[in-house]
Amino acid sequence: MPLDLVCPAGSLMSLKAAIDNGADAVYMGFRDNTNARAFPGLNFDETQAAEGLRYAHDRGRRVLLALNTYPQADTWARWTGAIDRAAKLGMDAVILADAGLMRYAVKQHPALRLHLSVQGSATSYEAVNFYREHFGVQRAVLPRVLSLPQVENVVKHTDVEIELFGFGGLCVMVEGRCLLSSYCTGESPNSAGVCSPPKAVRWTDTAVGLESRLNGVLLDRYGKDEKAGYPTLCKGRFEVSGETYYALEEPTSLNTLDLLPEMLKMGIAAIKIEGRQRSPAYVAQVTKVWRAAIDAVKKNAEGFKPTPAWQAELNKLSEGQSHTLGAYHRPWK
């Protein structure tokens, strides 16, 4: 089915909110740094994962497990253990980034369906096809750096299903290779599972504004009526040559509702919604809007136009001052 709606689940309640509001699939992580949302108290232990799977499968929906960080030599067994658990639990797919883990999964659990994570950073059909040929990967989540014509070029030259990000926070998008936060914290999201380890983050409401710091480094200072963003280095404001501004990336959210007809036409298999760190309220609200939008575009692609109500609802949930079509829309291309 084209344009499957894949929604985030950081907890059982979020999973239920996603399913109840029309997600075709949810993605979740285990309670450790084997996934890229390794926040304290978030994610699923084995019992909760089993209950989530039951809830989804009873309603004909699927559950994908994000195992999208990179194991280190001394922690290898934690990641392979997670693959074993995923297979035992009956996950519908695992979302992997590391080629070594793919090899392990293919050897130990040949029936387990593999998705290539955005963290795998495959942007060309040659790279996507490599994962298909060697590990039988069935779906790839493309990094958010390609324009739509570039995405289309990938789709045309591969049998692998293509999944695109549809909505959620944007970052500098050096997926799987971003080491920015390690300059401040000594940890990078690729192996630690978070961009800014919460233990290193401090928020202080001061007379001059709300300040966010990462391991003591001032990331941003928000004026009274400015919208705040996540405390990541890539979205900080820094002084460069005497000017203070978002030197790397402005806090914005991706919102691709406008592009749904083109995505449908080029045969995009699934749309991913970002936000496993968010609460059930967010998951319910965003899933509801995207379910309605995807149903509408499938019914009448030519006449499709996102309603102001959908856009307003999504804007309200967004990080940063604005939303954008991201790299998908580059009119000069």
Binding site: G10, P40, D205, P280, A281, K316
Partner: protein, 150 residues
């Protein structure tokens, strides 16, 4: 839409009260009404830390700690301070708003130990509101249900 604005005079009056009586009242009420439903959660990472909830429009500053037996008033330096208006706290508790949404729009401020803050948030997110409602005294459960359906 829920409309809960408190008269400034009331907020002014409440803000002049010392911290302890409201914190004591909060702890007693929370233990009586909520603890039976909450105690099954994994409180281990939260035990012994000091928390402050600032209800900005009411001028209310609730300071408490958590143990295996429930909430208790506390006057230590808070490890975590969460500030919002009464209405926004209710929107959060009733699952009608997401904390990050309120945070981006500066309606919710979390200061102190960020890791502790996220642990609290995720612990509460994992709660099934229906299971809580089940254990509340009937009038309170009905009021909460009305609030969540509004």
């Amino acid at each position: 839409m829920l409309n809960l604005a408190f008269p400034p005079s009331l907020a002014n009056m409440v803000s002049r009260l010392p911290v302890t009586p409201p914190s004591l009242a909060f702890s007693l009420a929370a233990n009586r009404l909520l603890w039976p439903a909450l105690k099954t959660l994994d409180w281990q990472p939260l035990i012994g830390r000091c928390y402050a909830i600032r209800v900005k429009d009411l001028g209310l500053n609730l300071r408490f700690t958590v143990s295996q037996r429930g909430f208790a008033p506390d006057s230590g330096v808070p490890d975590l301070t969460i500030s919002a208006t009464a209405r926004d706290f209710l929107l959060l508790l009733s699952r009608r708003e997401d904390p990050d949404t309120l945070f981006f729009s500066r309606r919710l401020v979390s200061e102190g130990d960020t890791e502790l803050g996220l642990t609290v948030k995720n612990l509460l997110d994992a709660l099934d509101p229906e299971a809580i409602l089940h254990r509340l005294p009937l009038p309170l459960a009905r009021a909460a249900q009305r609030m969540m359906a509004a």
